[in-house]
């Protein structure tokens, strides 16, 4: 079985930047953020202040895993207001907006994988999603937008024939 490369952080960052520029706006760019090894936020279950939103989408096929976007509630609400061009956004709006963001990032990650692969509908949570125990984190992109962190995590299923990019 030919190993399928895991998504590479630089590719995922590029996708995230494209999605952000198209739908959130280019006037306040999303910027990559470096975290030094051992930084509390690099740990899987690191405690983080305040409320968060998460959205996750599953890819199944030649490579199987999940793509998750996490961001603080204040950032999620601000992103939603920009996407909708409104002054106020409710929780349903935030769930819809964050779900669409992960749909676009996940869909474009899927496009780089060999066929056949399929994409699930997004799952959105107020909080941070728990990742299944049979997956391993293979890619993490840390960024900052409007002084708030934005994170993309890619988890691969152990059973997928895979290799690192």
């Amino acid at each position: 079985m030919t190993a399928v490369l895991d998504p590479a952080p630089l590719d995922v960052l590029t996708l995230l930047e494209e999605v952000w520029e198209s739908f959130v706006g280019a006037d306040e760019p999303l910027l990559p953020r470096s975290l030094t090894p051992g930084h509390p936020e690099t740990r899987h279950h690191a405690p983080e202040a305040g409320a968060w939103w998460s959205a996750s989408i599953t890819i199944t096929g030649t490579w199987s895993g999940t793509v998750t976007i996490e961001l603080p509630a204040t950032a999620a609400e601000a992103v939603t207001r920009r996407m909708l061009a409104v002054d106020l956004a409710g929780p349903d709006d935030v769930a819809d907006a964050i779900g669409e963001l992960v749909n676009m990032v996940g869909g474009n990650i899927k496009a780089a994988l060999p066929d056949p692969t399929s994409l699930s509908l997004p799952v959105v949570a107020a909080g941070r999603v728990a990742h299944p125990s049979d997956t391993v984190e293979v890619c993490r992109v840390e960024a900052v937008w409007a002084d708030r962190p934005v994170r993309v995590l890619v988890h691969a299923h152990h059973s997928t024939g895979r290799d690192h990019a």
């Binding site: 198209s22 061009a85 669409e100 496009a111 994409l119 509908l121």
Partner: protein
Amino acid sequence: MRALVIDDSRVMRNILRRTLADLGFEIAEAGHGREALDLMEAGLRPDVCLIDWNMPVMDGYQFVVEVRRHPGWRNVTLMMVTTESGHNQIVKALAAGAHEYVIKPFTPDAIAEKLQLLGLVPQEVPA
């Protein structure tokens, strides 16, 4: 010109609605393919449908197939607007009867350009 936007994301429908309104379209919306078919069976006659692929109830590909089966809807232009960007998906949708394919993320200019190529908006759109 009348456009039917079919996407399960209200945010995406909102973004497309703003883009199409700027181009002078009247806009109707549906949250999935079945809802869009219901609108058309009830008499809605869009000039163009902008169609997401991954939706609950009925996906965009199945919607294209259903529209192309209907003899009274042959003049409806079908444009996929989706994250499904694999070559096989694009070929499958075009073979089923879609006229154009736009991959998310897109810019308003990209939508306008495709609609111009389809002859659905004039080449020069008032600012």
